[in-house]
Amino acid sequence: MDYRMLAFFIFSSIAILGSLMVVFKKNPVASAFALITVFFAFAGLYALMSAHLVAALQILVYTGAIMVLFVFVIMLLNQDRPVEDLKSSSPFFKGFAALGVSALVYSMIRVGLLAKGIQPRGQMTEDKVIELGGNVRAIAESLFTDHLMQFELTSVLLLGAIVATIALAKRKNSMEGAAS
């Protein structure tokens, strides 16, 4: 068996089992660490698709920034009493949700398998990307020429998110102190 095929099966099974653990672990810290494993498996899958920049950013942004934030918040809240989770939702609702989601997934898989017949129409073949100087350079040139507007708008979005987070996390009395 091709080693890429083997890597694909290993990474995708890690991703699926890890995401099941995210949902079914009672402790939020265990969920967070399962999610980190899922993100690493996703980075492997991106690398298999020769999307090197996305694979690197997956590890840097998701596991390096977002998950650290999650773990910090879990530690910060430090719930004295665990949430009555998974038990309190009725088995009827759980079964209904599982049935609905699996019907959705099944129908989407049937639709997705139709995509096997898609003929590639773009110009970015493997050889063309290598000729342009690799995945990272090709993406960067496209990002900073054709998609510059979206890139700048993204910075506005991040600025808005920073302002919103600070406004939310600020304590009430300190805001009153600033006003008076």
């Binding site: 694909f8 699926i16 809240l77 997934v105 398998l113 129409r121």
Partner: protein, 102 residues
């Protein structure tokens, strides 16, 4: 023996998206619900990369970069909201948050 074809990633992406959606529906801990949203976003990212490979175009990978930025902003604001809620209500249980209902 065929190699790894891009369409093989699509069922994986869909299953991950479905697991995330299911978790979002059955869990009551707000932090775990946010993590399930991240799972759903990652499933969509995986299908973006697969379609990008399938169509031999890099636009899908660019879309993934923007989705990652939005996910970072979303989780920052979401966790800020969770902290603010915990400070006032002392809980992260989504069933206990019923201030508007009373």
């Amino acid at each position: 023996m065929i190699g790894v074809e891009p369409w093989m990633l699509l069922p994986v992406a869909l299953v991950i998206f479905g697991i995330g959606l299911f978790g979002l529906m059955i869990r009551k801990n707000l932090l775990v619900m946010l993590m399930c949203v991240e799972l759903m976003l990652n499933g969509v990212n995986l299908s973006f990369v697969a379609f990008s490979k399938m169509h031999q175009s890099l636009d899908g990978q660019l879309a993934v970069l923007f989705v990652m930025t939005v996910a970072a902003a979303e989780s920052a604001v979401g966790l800020g909201l969770v902290i603010a809620l915990f400070r006032t209500l002392r809980t992260v249980d989504s069933d206990q948050i019923q201030v508007l209902r009373d």
